[in-house]
């Protein structure tokens, strides 16, 4: 019986990711600076209510997939199924990795609809808070998925790279979003990919991290 890894290649989906809104990150995204920004109690309460509203509207769902790296050069990373990613920055991140973890998450359509309604109703103050909360919560969903895999990886004497990479950043072209979208089957969550490789609803993200061997 082989005791080495044959294939981790199974899509893992998370129908409900339950996390608390990362308040510090939401405040920071809204421009709050400790020691400089002054908030009155009623402003803080209104902000808290808007974040609570965001929490009730956001349904975080996610999917992840472990894939072996078939080969990699200084720019080209080959994955199974003739898939490849081209990026010098990503290749550098994956220098010590033999596998990648692809991840995708969405905050769902309800919060985007609420942002649209608030904007149309001249309640942009609430809209920006919902927008910031959704952005940070969907990002936190990726952190959550990393924590989920980190436990298993530790047992395998492996770990995730310290950072992750998303399409459209650095030299990893946004066009790669199609590869993530297909491999993670994000359509199952009602997420669509536009012809310009943008995920809709808006607060949907993908990322890739490397899996390294430790010790």
């Amino acid at each position: 019986m082989p005791c080495t890894l044959v294939s981790m290649d199974r899509l893992i989906t998370f129908e409900r990711i339950t996390i608390e809104p990362p308040l510090e990150a939401i405040y920071r995204r809204l421009g709050f600076r400790k020691g400089l920004t002054q908030i009155k109690p009623d402003e803080a309460r209104a902000l808290g209510e808007s974040i609570e509203k965001a929490r009730s509207l956001i349904t975080l769902k996610g999917a992840a997939r472990r894939l072996p790296i078939l080969s990699k050069g200084s720019r080209l990373i080959r994955l199974p199924g003739s898939h490849c990613l081209e990026s010098t920055h990503l290749a550098k991140l994956l220098a010590g990795s033999k596998e990648v973890l692809l991840m995708g998450a969405t905050a769902g359509a309800a919060v985007i609809e609420a942002i649209r309604r608030d904007t149309a109703a001249d309640n942009l103050t609430q809209a920006v808070v919902l927008d910031a909360a959704a952005s940070e919560m969907v990002d936190a969903a990726l952190d959550w998925m990393e924590a989920f895999f980190a436990r298993d990886l530790r047992r395998e004497s492996r770990r995730l790279t310290k950072s992750r990479f998303s399409c459209g950043y650095g030299d990893l072209a946004l066009e790669n979003q199609k590869l993530f979208y297909d491999l993670l089957d994000l359509g199952r969550f009602g997420v669509e990919l536009t012809e310009r490789y943008i995920l809709a609803p808006e607060k949907s993200v993908t990322a890739v991290a490397g899996i390294e061997t430790t010790g």
Binding site: M1, P2, C3, T4, L5, V6, S7, R10, I12, T13, F14, E15, R16, T18, Y27, L30, G31, R33, L36, T37, Q38, I39, K40, D42, E43, A46, S50, S56, I115, T119, D122, L124, T125, A127, V128, V129, A147, F148, R151, D152, R154, R155, E156, S157, R158, R159, G168, A173, L174, E175, T194, E195, R196, Y197, I198, A200, E202, T213, T214, G215
Partner: protein, 800 residues
């Protein structure tokens, strides 16, 4: 009592039971290469895993785990192995051979690496079947007990526990892994895990991995007051650190053992070690606890319900619980239709609405004639489990839908209801016992509903006698007072109240009523219902099935809690009043200020509710409209921008002030003379370019520009270059603003500018968005602004 339990309890009368320590790191130290499947490697290297087992037994561990943490079909499949049962059997046999009776062997069951429905894609029965393969193999290998460990998903822990209990009655421990914030990654807290798992039949519950002993003191402390069973702590050797590319833990054996006293004092009866611990850690632990006697479980029963994330305790002094009644298709055509179509969206919305209105529990009924009620109930319970934190009440006249729901519900549910009807008792009591559910005891029999409280008491006692045969206590049910319609029997409400009082004061049980039936056929039913609720609450009522959207009802419920001593410091009452008052709107600015200063303060404070009135007040006091705009309001909004620039304000304040300014200017506009009106200012055209759907930044810029008196033509998002150029021709703007968030859409900005120039349009452009830089803007011949405030400044400069 589970098979083998006596051995465990006898040890715990004298000292804590000691479980083993980490296996993976020990195997690596003894030659297991990185990246292999530990289970399969151990089968190929039985002497190595045997030596780890033997070392833990020598260290004084009472229980040693088989090396089968990942020996389930999902994880073994990743290594090309398919016969999970055989792998488990062989590894149990290796443990037995190595230990030769020197320690008890626990068959170890770990997570599959997938989430189970309703939180993931793996079918609940598939998970149960996978765990059963492990259980059968481990039993064939001769294990003495089972441990289900490192679970972050309560539903997966349930699936594994059901798998064990459906095959054997060996002593079974379950440990969840809580992060430092006191919840599993999936959001379950220690008390909720305990409530669910001990009701489902776990013989010991606790925590392992993720944290060191210090954090686990808190987790054990949260569970102890409510535990009927021993509690387990199997911490890591402190917190992990990375040293030379390897993960190490910060506690040596002596320090690790020194924390045992605090864990035992918190209520731990079973101790062990997880990541980073070694046989030396366990030897030191065993020595440290030799004379420390654990505190036995403090209670024999627990009146509590749970969802996956929350526990509701029915303890003395707790508030009256409202059970939301809306998810019931009787008289609700839209819900009937949805259930027929197999959809759940409306029910999920109803759940969220009732939760927001203050319900503590949700009743779920799928009684639509002609549908598969078993499937409908299962699907709806799973959908609601993911949609709400509130525990569910499974409401059906039939036993089968209730059983299906209890099997998949990731918590401890309440059955509505079990009556004294023979067939119901026979079918439902075993089902409730198997899944550890609480139930509503409905005191009626095959002969009908007893009319008086005394006759109902006789039926209650008879049902209780039957329930005791299945292990239930008075903490496991709520007596239904049976509410009959006052319109048809004026004495009926009094009999209900007397039943509630008897059940509370004489019998010593919790009680519930289905409230709204009392007013059936009456006008203004809400007053009858709320009055009846107050009467029942005063008689000791525990819960009421009612509509939490009723404002009067929730006020009376909360008031009853205050007057009945169930709302300490009236905290819930105050919160309810504040919520009902709309969360407290911003008050008017300081009264002593002159009216025009109040307008300024309103803009600075973002006081949208007050500004229009203040503008009117100022004008009424004889203040000139143009002067108010030019000398008060515009300087105020400029001041807001400056505060934003200095980071004294952040985005919500900037926008609230912006919106206040907009409302103020709208109020002022009819009083401005033509020459000073905003319409006389320059027109700015803005759009988010084609392909891009992110427009919140553009909307902020539009608001800022309007507040500085510009006429803004906002074309929206995903706007093609051709349309933008057409609108430039039409509106002749002084400047055009373009936004884009993504690298792929940013290039559209260049196309818009090139097309405009090609068609002879010479208007200046300003661009912005997350990925846009000043350098890019310059490269396409545009100005750049990083936010709304800067956009106003740049445009003011451009049009000057």
């Amino acid at each position: 009592m589970a098979k083998g339990q006596r051995k465990f309890l006898d040890i715990m009368k004298k000292r804590p039971l000691i479980l083993d320590g980490a296996t993976g790191t020990e195997l690596q130290k003894r030659g297991m290469p990185a990246g292999v499947c530990p289970e399969l490697w151990c089968i190929e290297n039985p002497l190595v895993i045997g030596s780890v087992h033997a070392d833990y037994a020598r260290a004084g561990c009472d229980v040693v785990y088989t090396c089968t943490f990942g020996a389930n079909r999902f994880k073994l499949g990743q290594y090309g192995a398919s016969d999970a049962r055989s792998v488990n059997r062989r590894l149990a046999l290796i443990a037995k051979e190595a230990l030769r009776g020197k320690a008890l062997i626990a068959g170890d069951i770990g997570p599959t690496g997938h989430f189970i429905q309703p939180f993931g894609e793996v079918d609940f029965e598939e998970a149960v079947a996978a765990f059963k393969e492990q259980v059968l193999g481990l039993l064939e290998g001769g294990v003495d007990c089972f441990v289900i460990e490192t679970m972050m998903d309560i539903q997966e822990a349930r699936a594994a526990l059901i798998a064990v209990k459906e095959i054997c009655d060996l002593f079974t421990m379950v440990t969840m892994t809580f992060e430092r914030d006191g919840r599993t990654l999936n959001g379950t807290d220690p008390l909720t895990a305990l409530t669910t798992l001990q009701a489902l039949g776990a013989d010991a519950v606790g925590c392992n991995c993720s944290t060191g002993p210090d954090d686990m003191v808190r987790f054990i402390g949260a569970m102890k007051p409510y535990a009927k069973i021993p509690l387990i702590a199997k911490p890591n050797a402190g917190l992990p650190k990375t040293a030379g590319g390897t993960t190490v833990y910060d506690m040596d054996a002596a320090e690790f053992a020194s924390r045992a006293g605090a864990l035992i004092a918190a209520g731990t009866g079973i101790l062990g070690g997880c990541c980073g611990t070694t046989p030396q850690h366990l030897a030191a632990l065993r020595k440290a606890v030799a004379r420390k006697k654990p505190v036995p479980p403090l209670r024999k029963s627990l009146a509590a319900l749970s969802s996956a994330r929350k526990t509701l305790l029915f303890e003395p002094g707790r508030p009256l619980a409202v059970i939301g009644e809306s998810i019931n298709p009787t008289g609700r055509k839209a819900l009937q239709e949805e259930l027929r179509e197999g959809k759940t969206a409306l029910a999920r919305q109803m759940a969220r609405d009732q939760e927001a209105a203050g319900a503590a529990l949700l009743d779920v009924n799928v009684g639509v004639p002609g549908i598969d009620q078993e499937k409908a109930m299962q699907d709806l319970v799973m959908a609601l489990s993911a949609a709400t934190e509130l525990p569910l009440v499974i409401d059906s006249a039939k036993a089968e839908p209730i059983e299906r729901a209890l099997r998949v519900y990731p918590g401890r549910a309440l059955i509505n209801s079990i009556s004294g009807e023979k067939e119901k008792l026979k079918k439902l009591l075993p089902v409730a016992a198997k899944y550890g559910a609480m139930f509503i005891l409905l005191p009626l029999t095959d002969k009908g509903i007893p009319e008086t409280a005394e006759k109902r008491a006789v039926v209650v006692r008879a049902i209780e006698r039957e329930a005791r045969k299945h292990g239930f206590t008075r903490d496991d049910f709520l007596v239904d007072g049976i509410v009959m319609t006052a319109a048809s029997n004026p004495k009926a409400p009094q009999e209900t109240i007397r039943t509630v009082r008897w059940a509370t004061e004489t019998f010593g049980a919790r009680t519930v009523v289905g409230l709204s039936n009392v007013s059936f056929g009456m006008p203004e039913r809400k007053w009858i219902n709320t009055s009846f609720l107050a009467m029942a609450a005063a008689s000791g009522l525990t819960a009421a099935i009612a509509n939490p959207a009723g404002e009067e009802l929730m006020f009376v419920k909360n008031a009853s809690d205050v007057l009945g001593g169930r709302d300490r410091d009236a905290a819930a009452w105050i919160a309810h009043c504040a919520k009902a008052a709309g969360g407290g709107k911003k008050g008017a600015p300081i009264e002593a200020l002159p009216p025009e200063r109040k307008v300024r303060e309103a803009i600075l404070d973002g006081n949208r509710d007050a500004v229009a009135g203040l503008v009117g007040e100022t004008l009424k006091a004889g203040f000139d409209a143009a002067k108010l705009a030019q000398e008060i309001m515009i300087p105020a909004i400029v001041e807001v921008g400056e505060r934003f620039g200095r980071k004294e304000y952040f985005l919500p304040q900037l926008i609230a002030s912006g919106e206040t300014m907009k409302i103020g200017m709208e109020a002022l506009d009819p009083f401005l003379k033509e020459g000073s009106k905003a319409a006389q200012r320059d027109t700015i055209l803005i759009a988010t370019v084609k392909g891009d759907i992110h427009d919140i930044g553009k909307n902020i810029v539009a608001l800022m520009l309007r507040n500085h008196g510009y006429q803004v033509v906002d074309l929206g998002k995903d706007v093609a270059a051709e349309r933008i150029v057409r609108e430039i021709e039409r509106h002749r703007p002084r400047a055009v603003g373009l936004s884009a968030l993504m690298t792929t859409t940013m290039t559209q900005m260049k196309e818009v500018i090139m097309l405009a120039r090609k068609q002879g349009e010479q208007c200046p452009f300003i661009v912005g968005g997350a990925v846009v830089t000043k350098a890019y803007a310059e490269s396409i011949g545009a100005e750049y602004a990083r936010d709304g405030v800067e956009a106003v400044q740049v445009i003011q400069r451009m049009v000057r």
